[in-house]
Symmetry: C3
Subunit: 282 residues, 3 copies
């Protein structure tokens, strides 16, 4: 499937209202302190362990107004339960190699198996938000709502990777976690890019095509990829996420980002997570 070129813009008025309403079956657990290493970031459908990569420490509430920086491009990266989430640090690092770029990450729980939350937060200095951060036990009517503040903050949203399950939820309007709540409440004027990544047979499942059609034609997101590759199992097939460099390149072109003089490309490769082309993941 060719990348869509449909534009996510819309003439509808975007009301930014903090009172939004969707129910959820998510069951936030208390966060544990301490680092969690990910020696084997790989395939996942269900959460491989009850508490993967726990939130290292509670973050202060996030508000768009305090975190919007003048003359910056504000990029929200959403990661979901595909092994391609292993590329998140590479994408973030490369984006940050451009001046005047700010990044926030919002993730589903399964995606946390594939990259080191603390590494992103400490080494790269980028917040990684998840369901556990959505609600403060001391919440009051005036407290900021995470998924509303993040969508107010974002100039663009990248769902990279978008798993088969999250794609199905978006296409059916289900909003039972922070990621899908944000997407359901997102202004149609915010350019939103979907980078599917899934097993080849999942991608070839007849419903995938219909989900992609709805996400593009009805919801108005731009779908890019997936691509064909030799996958980890040795098979060749469609389903791999668009190359992370191409994802960054898309944002660079869209927002006209320019590196400082003397700074070459490829800074992202300095990250500690490997980008071994011999072991591709979908």
């Amino acid at each position: 499937m060719s990348p869509s070129t449909s534009d996510a813009s819309s003439s509808r008025i975007a009301h930014h209202c903090p009172t939004c309403t969707c129910s959820s079956s998510s069951n936030p657990t208390s966060s544990n302190a301490g680092s969690t290493t990910h020696p084997s970031p790989t395939h996942q459908t269900n959460s491989p362990n009850p508490n993967p990569n726990p939130n290292p420490k509670p973050k202060p509430p996030f508000t768009a107004s305090l975190n919007r920086k003048p003359n910056h491009t504000h990029i929200l990266l959403i990661t979901t339960g595909s092994v391609a989430s292993i590329k998140a640090p590479l994408i973030i690092s490369e984006l940050l190699s451009y001046p005047n770029v700010a990044v926030q990450v919002l993730t589903t729980k399964p995606a946390l198996t594939f990259f080191d939350r603390e590494d992103v937060e400490v080494r790269l200095g980028v917040n990684v938000w998840s369901d556990e951060d959505e609600w403060d036990p001391n919440y009051t009517l005036s407290s900021p709502i995470l998924h509303i503040e993040l969508r107010r903050w974002a100039d663009t949203v990248l769902i990279a990777p978008c798993s088969a399950n999250t794609l199905a939820k978006i296409a059916s309007g289900i909003c039972d976690n922070t990621v899908t709540s944000l997407l359901r409440a997102l202004s149609p004027s915010t350019p939103t890019f979907v980078f599917p990544a899934m097993n080849t047979l999942m991608y070839e499942h007849p419903l995938t095509k219909e989900h992609l059609r709805i996400v593009q034609e009805v919801v108005g997101y731009t779908v890019v990829g997936p691509i064909g590759k030799k996958l980890a199992c040795g098979d060749v097939g469609m389903g791999a996420m668009t190359e992370w460099r191409d994802i960054v390149g898309l944002v660079v072109e869209k927002f006209g980002l320019v590196k400082k003089a003397g700074e070459g490309e490829g800074k992202g490769e300095q990250t500690v997570l490997p980008d071994n082309p011999k072991v591709e993941v979908s």
Copy 2:
């Protein structure tokens, strides 16, 4: 959107069979004793804490046959994860101001953030049922099944408020909690009213219109609202739940309820929860 006037009645025969079958991913937790206060009933998508407003104490099993009262109108109020669930006590109190009215409440877990379960149960004397009540650990083949008994009991069902997520689940036939299981197993001859309440952008999401169409035209429920309002955030937009007085008024008209002589309207306002028109919730 104008209220639908479609009738939920159907010529199909309603088999009241206790053996129904849908799976669920819900994970009932043990109920805690004690009162839980709700100082800040407000917006919510995900459950704000792991165990909001726990079931104060186990209730004896509910059966329709033992709880149907002669010459009474039996009203099942379903509350879901929208801040408009704050109005539940007002709706209940006003309904009970009419003679020969009986009320039961069935709620999703997130909705319990927005009203005080114990207040409703103790002060108003109305049962509030949730997923935790569905299955008795000592269940036997002859035990009553909560969502079957409640739908047998109900003369009418009010989903007030109906969140974006619950609306999506109804439209897709997902039945993964007690609320959606009851709705899936509900007789089409039971008048069922949906009062959507959601953030303006969620309401304007293109899938909402399709969900509302399915819920009305295919499933046969009557959708009333939402309405436009100045919302808590200062914006004006569609998405607020129909005024609670109008919800009660709809039931009053439908079932020809008449107050006792000398009893005026507005008893509901004696409830301790505020209905401040200056801080509206969607």
Copy 3:
């Protein structure tokens, strides 16, 4: 509704790739040792208790290559949250009465209320897999992935029973647990049979017909049943699972299974679980 005769085969190429990707909200809990008895296998929508029929003991990782037996028919039985899951031991026992048949069971959590996992594993010697088995805490890139290995292993898949909720998930492409992940990643060349079982009113819900159409015409599964019966509640209506003998008979015919000389039919009835025709379950 008449059983479909549509064939699940397809000309599409089946890539067997272990890197698949869907997110999940499932929350695997640690397994407890010990037997769990099921004195009252019956109706269920939500999980009746937090940890029904826990995994008796961790099983070694499953791989298709080590478990495929020469000249055997490999049958994957999927059980979901319908009381008809009580018939699983009968189906398994009868299938195993044929030579050269191998059986694996994959189950949703709610289905475990209706049959004794340990009985199936110990007495019948058949593995019962569930969400808890999907991910090894010591998972590495080379570890087998349960739902990929099971679909590689299977010559045919029986979803018996298929609950209303699982049916809705299949029809919408949601893949938030091991069962729906396997189905989403299943090769279209694997004959897959759906045996719906649900409450009569759930079956008569207008969305059921559309779900069954999608599952047959779009996804390509073969739907058999449900059937009409006098149900446990005394009502007569559609919704019961096809008789377990007919389910086995369908497999016998499809794969040309022949019993050894001198071995009669009905061995399945020697199982300790009753198949009382007077108390039918849907």
